[in-house]
């Protein structure tokens, strides 16, 4: 009998779930339609979207960076500072020290790796809560960046980087976007189609269970933190390429939006899990809103309200859809 009940219930549940999975995408399409109706010429053209795709690529990469340790159960608040560090490493070594750009990019990624290792050392081996450690390393890195750059913006980064990031275009969209896209594809492959992804998930959801099932929990956590360091350093490289300069201050401003996108992304595609496509959709959903609103000439404070409101609303709806069952995120 129980069986029968279960079978009868199934379609209803799946219908709900399907709706939840695509809800944010639908809302995205709706706001595109609305802005498009108001500004058919300026908003609804490929140029507008292609630019939006490219200019939010660093933010998208940062959101991707965050969800790796989040899935494994650790918060990495240091991604914003790592982005700054990486782009300033590029600025200092390329512009001031005159090192070739390719080497410098590698060194920037290496810096991200080192940050990840430092975080991991304190989080995994000393067992300090991740929030505390990454709060601390954020402050540390901010100091180091100020020392390194003399607190000044460094312009004149090698044009090769700029060309590689925003110079070339494919279907009218600058390359920057495709880097983020490739990262999302790779990450969603790892998350969903490799044993590593499963291990990450298990470590995040039940550390002791994972350990007793032969998963090297510490190694997975270290790996996740290092990955987050390297990916946010890559976001820093993209950022330097998009700007053509290195700014010692801007990274931290991307921290809260990136977290917001990660959480918002966890309400869509695979609701209840941090997932790369969800994060990407969330970043560009918010970007679309901001772009549309600014094109309408609406004051910028509205975009803050939009960001906050969209996050709370989306998570609320997602929560209500799932009948207030305890959420896995956060």
């Amino acid at each position: 009998m129980t069986e029968a009940v279960a079978t009868r219930k199934k379609p209803a549940v799946n219908y709900h779930r399907l709706f939840e999975r695509v809800a944010l995408v639908l809302v995205w399409l709706i706001i595109i339609a609305v802005f498009g109706a108001i500004m058919p010429r300026s908003f609804l053209n490929w140029g507008n979207f292609s630019i939006m795709f490219a200019s939010y690529a660093p933010a998208a990469l940062l959101a991707l960076a965050i969800i790796v340790p989040l899935t494994a159960g650790d918060y990495d608040l240091s991604v914003g500072a790592t982005l700054t560090l990486s782009s300033c490493v590029i600025g200092v070594l390329n512009v001031w020290a005159g090192l070739p750009i390719l080497l410098v990019v590698l060194l920037a990624l290496l810096a991200g790796l080192v940050v990840g290792l430092v975080n991991a050392f304190f989080i995994v081996y000393v067992r300090i809560p991740s929030l505390v450690v990454t709060l601390g390393t954020t402050s540390l890195m901010t100091g180091i960046v100020q020392w390194m750059t003399n607190s000044s913006t460094i312009g004149g980064i090698d044009n090769a980087l700029i060309m590689a990031v925003v110079g070339g275009r494919l279907f009218g969209v600058p390359y920057a976007f495709y880097y983020a896209l490739v990262a999302a594809i790779a990450m969603s492959y790892v998350f969903d189609f490799t044993p590593l992804g499963r291990r990450l998930l298990f470590v995040g959801r039940g550390r002791e269970v994972a350990r007793l099932n032969g998963i090297a929990v510490d190694r997975v956590r270290v790996g996740a933190l290092v990955a987050s360091g390297v990916i946010s350093a890559a976001a820093g490289v993209l950022y330097a390429g998009v700007l053509g300069s290195a700014d010692p201050y801007s990274g931290l401003n991307y921290l809260l939006p990136a977290f917001a996108a990660a959480f918002l992304g966890a309400t869509t595609i695979l609701p209840g899990r941090f997932n790369p496509w969800g994060a990407i959709v969330a970043v560009y959903f918010l970007a679309t809103g901001i772009t549309g609103l600014t094109m309408l000439g609406i004051p910028l404070w509205v975009t803050n309200v939009f960001n906050g409101g969209a996050l709370i609303l989306a998570v609320t709806i997602s929560q209500l859809t799932r009948g207030r069952e305890a959420s896995d995120i956060g």
């Binding site: 069986e3 490799t194 499963r198 269970v209 350990r211």
Partner: protein
């Protein structure tokens, strides 16, 4: 009075203290129902608990016992239509948090209801420390009250110790002391007898602890308070209760007066059918079999170096009083707890150093461990059955660079069917399954790997009688195919049913080995207690510090 000075087997409840007639029932429930998002946990339960009565509440896993208890604690809100009376006075449902105190109830919850990261003092005095209406906490008074309470119950604990540093036994005792202490102080305050609800308090307790608990139960029921006692151990229930109510699928299946009922009648009421107890075919297996594993000198926090050999296809039981170290062996061998020393040789191969053992290595060598702590160590509630089933060997499905989700799903479905998991939907979260079904999934996880040596810790704790038989059958079948099993359990009945050989532990050492026809429930129990006596001859300062003190 102390939990420590236990004596022999459970004694049957004496006559005379039975329910006092004339008084209204302490607790009267009518049509109490609870639905969790469509799933019916309780389908309208009516129940009376008389004053001074010890009332057994029985039923298979998931039959709704704990749900009922949690409704009384104000944790769950029952569905509309439920009604409740206490001492003849109607009480508005749902209960608000803390109402139960006003109504004279106290609880030992199934998971004890303690907060691990806080101190003994804070947990013990929880209700006093958190009850509103006091402007000021007098810590000195609280400390002495806590010491006094522990003293009264003969429990010697540092009141500033964190609860997570206590042994499971002491944790259980702490919860019990708290419940009885609350009732006692309630009785002193209002003079009104109360109601203690004990939701499976005994699995953590050694025999003498159980005996002591029963002493407490009797003493408060003699003074007119009532007790609701939940357990899967029929013998305990027969020993302590005046009356039992059996739940089945959220409904009352029946009610019996204990002294008029037989053991089998109770079992039948619980399961809903007669249970054929299969006699283990031990005699036929007396032939010499090749050795599967030689464990030499394994040593752990509570286990003195000891050696164990197990043959292919053998089911080896480990038991003893809690704290005697038997429960550690499986974890040490598997590398879940780091061993201080010892080696493991499998199938005649080079011995492996146990201190260097990790779960990964153990799994790679064909070992499997099913921990006793299902919630925290065994399965992940928020993930699907499928994920839980293939946790140790997802790699197997990694083909041509992709995880083969289809194959996983098919295999999970087949596996679920084989182990009679209900409902058998591999995509569903583990949390959607009842405890017993979750345990089946987790056993299936390991059995599916066809391990050469399966290590089990309390495999059927909190599992109902029917499911138990299924699990036993599966184990026996696998053993017949050559799998060796080490099963640590405090449940003599279970060991008697499945084991070819049983080792009795005391104070970290193997003190006795039972084989063949010696393996009966009574012999195991007897040997367990005899083990303690044997140690009584030791000089006092070499007395091991067992949990009970």
């Amino acid at each position: 009075m102390s939990f420590g000075d236990g004596e022999g087997a459970l004694t049957a409840r004496s006559e005379g203290s039975a329910s006092r007639t004339g008084l209204p029932p302490v607790l009267r429930l009518r049509n109490v129902a609870k639905t969790f998002g469509g799933a019916v946990a309780l389908g309208g339960v009516s129940l009376d608990v008389a004053a001074g009565e010890v009332h057994g509440l029985l039923g298979k896993n998931g039959s709704g016992k704990s749900t009922l208890v949690k409704i009384l604690a104000g944790f769950h809100a029952p569905d509309p239509g439920s009604s409740m009376e206490v001492d003849g006075q109607p009480v508005a449902l749902p209960l608000k948090p803390g109402d139960f105190r006003r109504l004279g109830m106290s609880f030992v919850h199934q998971n004890l209801g303690l907060i691990p990261s806080l101190t003994v003092l804070e947990n013990l005095r929880l209700s006093a420390l958190t009850s509103p209406g006091r402007a000021w906490i007098d810590w000195k008074a609280e400390r002495s009250a806590a010491r006094e309470a522990l003293e009264t119950f003969g429990l010697r604990l540092d009141i500033l110790e964190r609860v997570d540093r206590l042994s499971p036994v002491n944790r259980a005792l702490l919860a019990i002391v708290r419940a009885f202490e609350d009732i006692r102080s309630g009785l002193e305050g209002s003079g009104r007898p109360g109601l203690v609800l004990l939701d499976e308090p005994t699995p953590f307790l050694p025999r003498e602890g159980v005996e002591k608990l029963f002493g407490l139960v009797r003493s408060i029921s003699d003074r007119g308070s009532s007790v609701v006692f939940i357990s899967h151990d029929i013998d305990e229930v027969m020993a302590i209760t005046d009356r039992v109510t059996v739940l089945r699928d959220g409904h009352v299946a029946g009610s019996l007066v204990t002294k008029d009922a037989s053991h089998d009648a109770v079992v039948q009421l619980i399961v809903g059918r007669e249970l054929a107890r299969s006699a283990p075919a031990r005699t036929a297996r007396k032939v010499e079999r090749p050795v599967r594993a030689v464990i030499e000198g394994v040593e752990g926090p509570r286990l003195a170096p000891c050696s164990v050999t197990i043959a292919q296809g053998e089911i080896l039981g480990l038991t003893g009083l809690i704290g005697s170290g038997y429960e550690e062996l499986a974890y040490l061998v598997f590398g879940a707890t780091r061993a201080a020393g010892g080696t493991l040789a499998l199938d005649g191969a080079e011995p492996l150093e146990l201190p260097a053992m990790t779960p990964r290595r153990a799994i790679d060598r064909g070992l499997a461990l099913l921990p006793g702590d299902r919630q925290n160590a065994s399965g992940v509630d928020s993930l699907s059955l499928l994920d839980n089933m293939f946790l140790p060997d997802v790699d197997r499905f990694f083909r041509r660079g992709l995880l083969d989700h289809r194959a996983m799903r098919q295999e999970a479905e087949a596996l679920g069917k084989a182990f009679e998991v209900r409902p058998n939907d591999p995509i569903q979260k583990l949390s959607a399954l009842s405890g017993g079904n979750a345990q089946k999934v987790l056993i299936a996880r390991w059995m599916n790997r066809k391990p050469s040596l399966l290590l089990l810790d309390e495999p059927t704790q909190g599992v109902d009688v029917g499911t138990r038989q299924q699990i036993f059958a599966a184990l026996r079948a696998a053993a017949a195919d050559g799998m060796s099993v080490i099963c640590a359990s405090s449940d003599a009945e279970q060991l008697a049913e499945i084991c070819d050989r049983v080792l009795i532990f005391a104070r970290g050492r193997i003190v006795k080995e039972l084989v063949g026809a010696e393996i009966t429930k009574d012999r195991i129990a007897e040997a367990t207690y005899a083990s303690l006596d044997g140690m009584g001859a030791l000089p006092p300062d070499e007395r091991p510090e067992d949990e009970m003190q």
